[in-house]
Symmetry: C2
Subunit: 242 residues, 2 copies
């Protein structure tokens, strides 16, 4: 528990308390900043709530800000030359998305909320100022780029190859990384699964149904499910050994 200094307890700016109390702060972009640093910046940061299906930013748009995901799951997707949507990777709590805006580049992909999402919008100009003042910030940025690259490469190696059943199992494993408190994982719509795993809705549905019958998966309310991790890992091992 951090003790909040008295002089700031009744700060006039409402964002002050929010940044101060931010649950993801220690992992997130401004973990590197001390309270003083935080004080200087909070008025430029806006926190936003985004409903499922709504876009956070779009590909080709001139990037003006990066976003820290405070809760929920965001998908990053592109439309291929052929015209079909492909989901490239997911971002969750503590992830920073839209990094390319720091370089004054256009966003390279669409970012769309999969669940209700809370993000903090951090303007590019602010990142520039901070980078000049705090060398830690630049290092943190580079680490985040590397993480994004790692995620993309892992997605490519594990989620685009092998039979449909294996890809679905690996997706569930990945989704478990974004689990809510209470073991609940977000269960994507079947067409989202299709865009992630390069399969049709019908195939996605068949795989999910099969796994439900096997007890790997238990849908709990719309768009959520409980995973039996033991059975999931077991199914994966069985899959990979054949």
């Amino acid at each position: 528990m951090t003790v909040i200094p008295i002089y700031r307890k009744d700060s006039t700016h409402p964002q002050a308390q929010i940044c101060q109390a931010c649950a993801v702060r220690q992992f997130a972009f401004f973990g590197a900043l001390d309270d003083n640093g935080l004080e200087r910046i909070h008025q430029h940061i806006a926190d936003q709530r985004i409903e499922p299906g709504q876009s956070i930013f779009s590909a080709q748009e001139a990037g003006q800000a990066v976003f820290t995901v405070r809760s929920g799951v965001v998908r990053l997707e592109r439309v291929s030359e052929r015209g079909d949507r492909r989901i490239l990777r997911l971002a969750g709590r503590t992830d920073l998305i839209g990094l390319e805006s720091v370089l004054s580049q256009r966003y390279a992909a669409d970012a769309v909320a999969c669940t209700p999402v809370e993000v903090c919008r951090i303007p590019r100009t602010l990142v520039d100022e901070l980078s000049a003042a705090e060398p830690q910030v630049v290092l943190d940025l580079m680490k985040r780029w590397q993480r994004a690259l790692d995620d993309a490469e892992e997605w490519l190696a594990e989620l685009t190859t092998g039979p449909a059943r294996r890809r679905m199992l690996r997706l569930l494993l990945k989704l478990s990384e974004y689990a809510q408190p209470g073991d609940m994982v977000w269960l994507p719509m079947r067409d989202e699964m299709g865009a992630m795993l390069d399969m049709t809705v019908e195939t996605a549905s068949r795989m999910v149904s099969a796994l439900r019958r096997e007890g790997v998966l238990e849908p709990m309310g719309t768009r959520e499910a409980h995973l039996d991790m033991t059975r999931l890992m077991q199914a994966l091992r069985a899959q990979d050994s054949t």
Copy 2:
């Protein structure tokens, strides 16, 4: 044409001339440096020649250096959980690989020469020193991370989806980016194509043979080919419209 100052014309260190005359210097990592900066560093840089099939670095190895590719084509690949090799992306002239070493992280993938390759090995410690001295260098690093991410995402969106024929056509298009002077492109082995496009050697062979018969592709000597770009683009359009 840069005029080379007299005082350096007979520098004792052989690497001095090489760095000075480096054909990729303006695009490569040290484009940001002036001659003075270059003078300070060249003794730490080693240029290496690597034969096809040889490894430049391996995944999990503690990264001690980044590498600028001066010529040839390098593949970045991972072994999936299931145990099969997956090629994630390619790197060519002016690309910088092994960026994660700057963060003192382990290499995330294997880097293997596809053709005869020339690289400059740049130690991590040198990058650190330069970053402190020259702010441009850090910006350049971030741009390169973003480029790597872009490449990985494009690979995912264009080369992992659609029928085998389309994926092969798109691979040829990508290979044309790495063309030699004289329109010659490197033609991978069939099993490399398989690892790039997630198909078997047999399917890769069938696709290449078909495209050769259609005149899209003309093998010229081992491991090289001439592409008819007009027919290639035409075949791609026909493919995507169906």
